[in-house]
């Protein structure tokens, strides 16, 4: 998926990767508590995000993985594993950040999903996340 954001690539990249900024956009949807994030932004560094649909811990979703490529302001490639039904296996996320006019072009690829349900659930999740990302980087 591709999105156009009215903020420079450096800012979008920082918002994408800074553990303190991730809760502003990652599943930042009404009714949810802010996500919890830990990020070691380096090759083979680990990341972990906990999504909290409420305060009942049994409802939390957990995602984690490792970075394989980190190019400041330009590119991220990282493994991804979570407890989403139909996609409990490891997948790969590739996201590029490019300057476009006075904003950014963000391209996201995520796969390969074993089931159509897993693919659909992640597509829906990423749509919500990118909407949140746009609010987070374009605000103020």
């Amino acid at each position: 998926m591709t999105s156009h954001l009215r903020a420079p690539p450096g800012k979008v990249f920082r918002t994408w990767t800074d553990a303190a900024l991730i809760p502003k956009w990652f599943m930042a949807v009404p009714g949810y508590l802010p996500a919890l994030a830990e990020v070691a932004l380096e090759e083979r560094g680990a990341w972990r995000i906990t999504v909290r649909p409420g305060d009942d811990e049994s409802q939390f979703s957990h995602f984690h993985g490792y970075f394989f490529a980190v190019e400041q302001g330009r590119l991220l490639e990282y493994s991804w594993r979570g407890d989403v039904l139909g996609a409990e296996h490891t997948t790969l996320v590739r996201v590029t950040f490019e300057e476009e006019g006075d904003g950014s072009l963000v391209r996201l690829t995520h796969g390969v999903f074993e089931t159509e349900a897993g693919r659909a659930a992640h597509a829906q999740g990423w749509n919500l996340c990118i909407e949140g990302l746009a609010r987070a980087v374009e605000g103020e």
Binding site: Y66, F68, R81, T90, R94, G111
Partner: protein, 154 residues
């Protein structure tokens, strides 16, 4: 053995092969560096060396592929999900073509009619020519793996 192609749309290699060997033996052939060298790029004048594999989460693997002529292709990656004897998911990066990005190789091995079926998904490629190159290499290597499993007696 049979090889089937097909799978999700887009630039992904999706293949499966059946072998007249049990799951544990296919797993061993797939993961033991000494055995990998016997079937991976083991035809058409290609040879491999520097085959290493640390079969642990974030363990590194290396394979150098030497073509009949031209430059050696260095394949490097890290295992992420290691679940013997039926699942191995690893990142992958090679100097093959102009591939300057990471991909993921997801391998499952399941019992089938007294033998085993190996399913391999490799993606996501950035263009179809990269995908086609890897599909051709995997088809050839899976064929060699079948021959190796039939003729060796480990």
């Amino acid at each position: 053995m049979e090889i089937e192609t097909g799978g999700p749309d887009g630039p992904v290699v999706s293949l499966s092969a059946t072998f007249a060997a049990p799951v544990s033996r296919v797993w061993a052939a797939w993961t033991d560096p000494e055995q990998i060298a016997r079937w991976f790029f083991a035809s058409d004048g290609y040879s491999t060396n520097n085959v290493t594999s640390d079969l642990a989460e974030l363990g590194r693997f290396t394979i150098d592929v030497r073509p009949p002529e031209g430059d050696v292709t260095e394949i490097r990656g890290f295992h992420i999900e290691v679940s013997p004897p039926d699942r191995l998911i690893s990142t992958w990066r090679g100097t093959m073509s102009d591939e300057q990005y990471w991909t993921l190789v997801d391998v499952r091995i399941e019992p089938l009619d007294g033998g085993a079926r190996l399913s391999l998904v490799h993606g996501m490629f950035e263009c179809d020519s990269d995908r086609a190159l890897h599909e051709q290499a995997w088809l050839s290597s899976l064929q060699s793996l079948g021959n190796y499993l039939e003729t060796s007696s480990r």
